[in-house]
């Protein structure tokens, strides 16, 4: 079993209205020193395989096919932990 943790965020070139709103709210609260906020989605996948390379390939395919819309989003595989080679 491998556990994959994935972050999906809007590309830098895409304006993130939610991030902007949070940034403004921080200013309203008097919390300064934050230059930018980006909002994303976090996925945890439990993969039924004992092969690390296979697990990673699987995750990338899942991201490309479904979890990520490459027109506006990018993803980062933050960790891939588990028992196996």
């Amino acid at each position: 079993m491998f556990k994959a943790k994935i972050n999906v965020t809007l590309k830098e070139s895409v304006l993130d209205p939610q991030g902007k709103t949070i940034l403004n709210a921080l200013g309203t609260l008097g919390i300064n020193g934050v230059k930018d906020v980006r909002v994303g989605k976090y996925f945890v996948l439990n993969l039924d395989t004992s092969n690390r390379a296979q697990a990673e390939e699987h995750v990338r395919k899942i991201c490309d096919k479904l979890l990520v819309n490459p027109v506006i989003e990018k993803y980062e595989l933050i960790s891939l932990e588990g028992e196996g080679r």
């Binding site: 895409v14 304006l15 209205p17 479904l66 819309n69």
Partner: protein, 226 residues
Amino acid sequence: MKAAVVVFPGSNCDEDCFHALRDVAGAEVRYFWHKEKNLPKCDLLVLPGGFSYGDYLRTGAIARFAPAMEAVARHAREGRPVIGICNGFQILLEAGLLPGAMLRNQSLSFICDHVFLRTETAKSPFTNRLEKGRVLGLPIAHGEGNYFCSPDTLRRLQDEDRIAFRYSSTDGRLGDEFNPNGSVDHIAGILNEGRNVLGLMPHPERAGESVLGSEDGKKIWESLMA
């Protein structure tokens, strides 16, 4: 004209589309359930608005994998008209039948309003009864209608006359104050390369009878019937 309205779990404008096509446009209409694969030959496919699959993941992202979508893609490939309205537009984008993607409205609010759009091209089966520059008043109701595409794609859409409608003032002027959701280049609707697939955020099916406050939506059905 024979038309079919595709119904996904969470579609909520399917009956409005059915009504507009049958009672306003005078077409022969049937529903096409998302689990169906074999679509009887028809002239027009409509992907209605709503919240297919609860808008989970991204709007239209799950609907794209419905068995019915293969029939939709085939119908489009054969050059027959497909119109995606609101969530239907979002589904066409996710399915890759139209370029680009939808972002949350710039205001982050769900907007339910009456807006004006300027017809940008009469060269399509959806707009041939309109003339370039003609302004239509139609309702919108969406949270994610902020159309986005890469600068290259935008240039292609412009150069190939594939922007069907832009948000405008009542007299056809463009400006951020007339753009409800922050769409790039004030885009409200676009065509595919073959000009037989149209996606638009506003709802022509809700504006085809005077009792509804506007009959402008009828022009799109009339174009399709022509």
